[in-house]
């Protein structure tokens, strides 16, 4: 009963949205140049953000799970802070540190000529800032569940730490990495607050789908509906497609039983 109410709670807003969509205008809105650019920008930046989160997040998760060092819980809290922070606050923080006059941003500009605000790179930075924690938490928990026995065996067979990570650890935590990457990607795709605060709202460069949707709501509510439906469709398709294929088999592969050996006690 309560579960049914929960399902309705998620389904009804969707229904309300679909009910009001001006289907006859859909094609006009979608084929407009600004929408096409926003959609393209959203997809590109969110995929890059997911990739960047993976490249830096997997090592961070490994460190949090495996390396004992003083202040580990502080580091974990710090690197997952942006999950609970309002995204706008994250955007403000990014602006005052990596903005053109920010604490570090002025040197980025002076020394490397890198300017993040009002660029697509800035969009990616804002997205990574809010999305990476989802990946880190997911990967850290799969590394923690992983049994060290197989890694030990691989080490005694002559595998260096890196080789063992690559051949044994990574395949075993793959479901966790994929789940984390999907979460991070969907968070990046939906990112609004940090993007508009830090990267701005320049059509074609920093105006992503959520920003375009919000702005359309004021000028052309029907277009906002169409944009919302597109975002929903893209996210829903990906979540649906990935869930069964990858997340369904999210067992800790390292703990897989091996013949009768595993049952002797």
């Amino acid at each position: 009963m309560l579960a049914g109410i929960a399902v309705l709670f998620f389904a009804l807003p969707l229904l309300g949205l679909l009910w009001r969509v001006p289907w006859s205008r859909t094609w006009d809105v979608l084929s407009s140049r600004s929408v096409g650019r926003a959609l393209q920008l959203s997809i590109t930046t969110s995929l890059i953000a997911a990739l960047v989160s993976m490249v830096f997040g997997v090592p961070l998760a490994w460190m949090l799970a495996r390396v004992g060092f003083p202040g580990r819980s502080v580091v974990r809290a710090l690197s997952t802070l942006s999950m609970v922070l309002p995204a706008v606050v994250g955007g403000v923080a990014l602006f005052f540190s990596f903005g053109r006059r920010g604490l570090f941003g002025q040197y980025l500009d002076e020394w490397f000529g890198i300017r993040l605000p009002f660029t697509s790179a800035g969009v990616v930075v804002a997205q990574v800032f809010v999305a990476m924690p989802f990946l880190v938490l997911s990967v850290e928990s799969s590394i923690r569940q992983l049994d060290v026995r197989l890694e030990e065996a691989a080490r005694t067979l002559g595998g260096s730490r890196w080789y063992v990570f690559w051949r044994i650890t990574l395949p075993a935590i793959r479901p966790g990495v994929v789940a984390g990457a999907v979460l991070a990607w969907s968070r990046a795709l939906g990112e609004f607050g940090a993007t508009i605060t830090f990267a701005g709202n320049l059509p074609g460069r920093t105006q992503t789908m959520p920003l375009a949707t919000y702005l359309a709501l004021e000028s052309d509510p029907e277009a906002a509906l169409v944009l919302s439906v597109v975002l929903i469709a893209v996210s829903f398709a990906v979540l649906l497609g990935l869930r069964d294929r990858w997340l369904g088999q999210a067992r800790p592969a390292g703990a897989a039983p091996q013949g009768p050996a595993a049952v002797t006690t």
């Binding site: 030990e152 080490r155 002559g158 595998g159 063992v164 044994i168 091996q258 002797t264």
Partner: protein, 252 residues
């Protein structure tokens, strides 16, 4: 070839303090009750457990190599010791085929894929399992998994072969057959082999010499007959005079 293990290490309130010299071409059995430190000793030799004090080293071909000596800050990782450890629970890699499991150590040491596969195939043939090369490891019976684990350990051509309760996970029916095969492989092995067991019959059949451990210390060593003739403690006496145990208990 000679392996010297002078190790003092404390793990979770358990202290292992042993002094062993093991010669090439012979098999030594570490015999003792649960919690005596048998598996811990193997982990020290393999490099999975760094010691607190002492020295672990090997001398071969007139060259001596130090693997672990805390006072000189020397510690060689498990991947750079010429040691193979066959775990009691085998620890075959479930994401790989049987052949890939056996080839793993060769690949990890930088062998090319083609060479690694042909060496691994040769080892699978030697243990009589070449027909299972492409199988996944979860399809194997206990005896087959044991032989794959042995082939995987021997394929890297180790100087030291460590076997942790190699027969404990097998049922009594297959145990006798696997034991005689294992005896053959141990006789052919030129390096140092160390076998952990709590079964005196197994120690007698597979090893040349026996080291009895109790509470993290060596209480007696010699041939099985010497030990049976003059047992140094009640435990050893009960062990060597009693009927051979058939228990499949897991150590540590």
């Amino acid at each position: 070839m000679r392996l010297e293990v002078r190790a003092d290490v404390t793990v979770d309130a358990f202290r292992l303090d042993v002094d062993l010299v093991l010669d090439g071409g012979s098999t030594v059995a570490l015999l003792g009750p649960n919690g005596a430190g048998k598996t811990t000793t193997l982990r020290v030799i393999a490099g999975l457990l760094p010691i607190d004090h002492g020295r672990v080293g090997i001398e071969r071909g007139g060259v001596s190599e130090v693997w672990d000596e805390p006072s000189r800050r020397v510690l060689v990782g498990p991947d750079r010791r010429a040691v193979a450890l066959m775990f009691q629970d085998y620890r075959l890699f479930p994401t790989m085929t049987v052949l890939e499991n056996v080839a793993f150590g060769l690949r990890a040491r930088g062998a090319r894929a083609v060479e690694a596969r042909s060496t691994a195939s040769a080892w699978l043939e030697r243990v009589g399992l070449l027909q299972l090369a492409a199988e996944r490891t979860d399809r194997l019976s206990g005896g087959e998994a044991q032989r794959v684990a042995l082939a995987r350990a021997l394929a890297t051509d180790p100087a030291v072969l460590l076997l942790d309760e190699p027969l404990a996970a097998l049922d009594v029916g297959t145990r006798a057959e696997v034991r005689s095969d294992l005896a053959g492989f141990l006789r052919a092995f030129a390096g140092v082999s160390v076998l952990v067991t709590h079964d005196p019959a197994e120690a007698r059949l597979l090893a040349d010499r026996v080291v009895v451990l109790e509470g993290g210390r060596v209480v007696q060593q010699g041939t099985m007959d010497e030990i049976a003739a003059a047992p140094s403690s009640q435990y050893v006496e009960r062990l060597v005079s009693g009927t051979p145990s058939v228990g499949g208990t897991r150590d540590d």
